[in-house]
């Protein structure tokens, strides 16, 4: 991989030990990826703090090095946001939620304290898988970025029109550089597959199911979507999450909606589609059946907020819960910034008065073994639902899937009554 003089001098240690260690990783990664060079990040980075925000153990930056760099006043080169901490812990609302150690406020405070060197270096405490909704600062179209959350990558590339692969880490934030390959290159961003949706997508759930159904067929290809209407932000976030679960769609075009395609022709950059496919109601139904792997109607636990609920989704949940009491355990999960807005609006009170837990910063899947050993659960996100059985292996939980309203009704009645249509 080509390195310019500045990059060579970093690798040679002329800008210090830490910079050289970070550059060693970027060179090894770039060469493995077949990148021709590095690119300067003019957009943003996000990292998963909590353990060590590095992807490959051999290139791990020791905590004491990060601590010393922070003490010297060193800063990340580019705006760097915090994704969901890994391993997970609860930022707000851990009290009484029945997990350990994440249910312990002292433990959660300590985890936050451990991140102080990263804050001092400039990491912004957004703590969310969809931090891009509350970040208050986004990359603009065409800017190069380094993000690190599969459900966020389509937001970066398709929705914002910025450029990046999944590789956000300490090293890319510290050097403000990343290997230039794959979605950094214009030629890899054009649509190659024309997807026509033959069924009407209306409910948030329809977009979640569509994302899975289509990505399972597409793998890593770049599609242009026709016939999917004008999705809301909630629907786009859900669709992006399932596009990166059922398959691996990181970039797509919706002509007239997403920034790199004002028309269908532009989505294909003047070329003809290499492939065409239709998505039918039957395709959505098949995914619905795949993620409904339960037979016992007695629901013990309901998880909402994958990806983390935005303020409108919290508002909807509060409306469904208003004046009701839950019989099953219910977690409504959001980002810390939305949590704070919901608190000011009185939504937190409504949710908590129902007996549900309103929380921020993590998810049931991220807490894994900490979760109470429920047997029957319900969720409104294909991603959380599908991974949960793996997280809890070798136990075999039963998990229902449905709309937010069906999930809340199940929490109130303790009975699953969800239906396909």
């Amino acid at each position: 991989m080509y390195l310019n003089d500045e990059e060579k001098s970093i690798l040679d240690g002329k800008q210090g030990y830490l910079a050289a260690k970070c550059m060693e990783f970027l060179v090894a990664y770039g060469e493995a990826a077949g990148a021709e060079c590095l690119v300067d990040i003019d957009g943003t980075v996000d990292i998963h703090p909590g353990g060590n925000p590095t992807w490959v153990p051999d290139y791990r930056i020791p905590e004491e090095e990060i601590y010393e760099a922070a003490k010297r006043g060193e800063q990340f080169k580019v705006p760097t946001f915090s994704n969901k901490p890994t391993p997970g812990f609860i930022i707000d609302g851990c009290e009484g939620c029945g997990t350990w150690p994440s249910g312990d406020q002292e433990y959660c405070q300590q985890r936050l304290k451990d991140m102080e060197p990263l804050f001092q270096m400039g990491m912004i405490p957004t703590f969310s898988c969809d931090y891009y909704l509350t970040a208050s600062y986004w990359p603009t179209a065409g800017q190069h970025c380094s993000w690190g959350e599969s459900s966020a990558i389509p937001w970066l590339n398709a929705v914002l029109g910025a450029k990046g692969n999944f590789d956000g880490c300490f090293q890319t934030a510290y050097l403000g550089k990343v290997p230039k390959y794959d979605l950094h290159l214009d030629e890899n961003r054009a649509a190659t597959v024309l997807v026509t949706c033959e069924t009407k997508l209306e409910r948030d759930m329809d977009y979640d199911l569509f994302g899975w159904a289509v990505s399972e067929k597409l793998g890593m290809k770049v599609p242009a979507f026709m016939g999917i209407g004008k999705p809301t932000v909630s629907q786009l976030v859900k669709m992006n999450s399932s596009l990166a679960t059922g398959g691996q769609v990181r970039m797509y075009h919706i002509p007239g909606v997403t920034p790199e395609a004002s028309s269908l022709e532009e989505a294909f950059k003047g070329k003809k589609p290499q492939e065409e496919m239709n998505i039918t109601d039957e395709d959505l139904r098949r995914v619905y059946n795949l993620v409904n792997y339960a037979s016992d109607e007695n629901v013990e636990f309901v998880f909402l907020g994958c990806p983390h609920y935005n303020i409108v989704e919290v508002q909807q949940a509060a409306r469904h819960l208003y004046g009701r009491k839950v019989k099953a355990d219910l977690w409504v999960m959001t980002s810390p910034q939305v949590y704070s807005m919901a608190e000011k609006m009185g939504l937190k009170d409504i949710i908590e008065k129902s007996g549900a837990h309103f929380m921020s910063g993590t998810c049931a899947g991220e807490l894994r073994g900490e979760l109470y050993p429920y047997s029957v659960m319900a969720m409104d996100a294909t991603k959380q639902n599908y991974y949960m059985s793996g997280h809890l292996y070798p136990r075999k939980p039963q998990i229902w899937y449905g709309s937010q309203k069906e999930c809340i009704d199940a929490a109130v009645t303790r009975k699953w009554r969800g239906e396909w249509r």
């Binding site: 090894a28 990664y29 493995a32 990826a33 077949g34 992807w55 490959v56 153990p57 051999d58 690190g148 959350e149 599969s150 692969n165 999944f166 590789d167 794959d182 990505s215 793998g219 890593m220 990166a244 679960t245 059922g246 398959g247 691996q248 795949l290 792997y293 899947g365 894994r368 991603k383 599908y386 991974y387 949960m388 059985s389 793996g390 997280h391 809890l392 292996y393 070798p394």
Partner: protein, 141 residues
């Protein structure tokens, strides 16, 4: 590609170098990480996956692509428990497929002149030469 009576050689791009040989384990379905990889036992625990609980240890793992979460890197950590595949061959990697190989420090190759998932079957004997950029497939007949 070159073909003799007993073996087929195809070229590819090296992600992680090294030379190993062993029996192929082919997953036509993509593999995913996060909760769906059991690191200590070295297999996928994805519901309904054809390789559910099938040990990857000492196999040449062949798969089309990585689907889902960046937690796929946990496949790389199977090495810590000695239950890792010997090599990974895939149609298309993604960054976290690359990170898994860099973590595992076992050969990985991609971008072959023929799709390995289409030509290799479970049980074939594979000589992986990622140092020189090719694999040799000895069909299990």
């Amino acid at each position: 590609m070159s073909e003799t009576k007993d073996s087929i050689i195809i070229k590819g791009r090296t992600v992680y170098p090294g030379k190993v040989e062993g029996e192929a384990l082919v997953s036509k379905m993509p593999l995913m990480g996060w909760g769906n990889v059991n690191v200590k036992q070295g297999f996928t625990v994805e519901r309904d996956h054809p390789l559910y609980e099938v040990p990857l240890k000492d196999k040449i793992l062949v798969f089309p692509y990585v689907r889902g979460s960046g937690g796929f890197v946990m496949y790389g950590h199977t090495k810590r428990y000695g239950v890792n595949p010997l090599a990974m061959l895939c149609t298309e990697p993604i960054s976290y497929g690359i990170f898994a190989a860099m973590t595992m420090k076992q050969p990985m190759m991609t971008d072959f002149d023929i799709d390995p998932v289409k030509i290799i079957e479970t049980g074939d004997y594979i000589i992986v030469n990622a140092d020189e950029g090719f694999i040799e497939i000895v069909k299990n007949v």
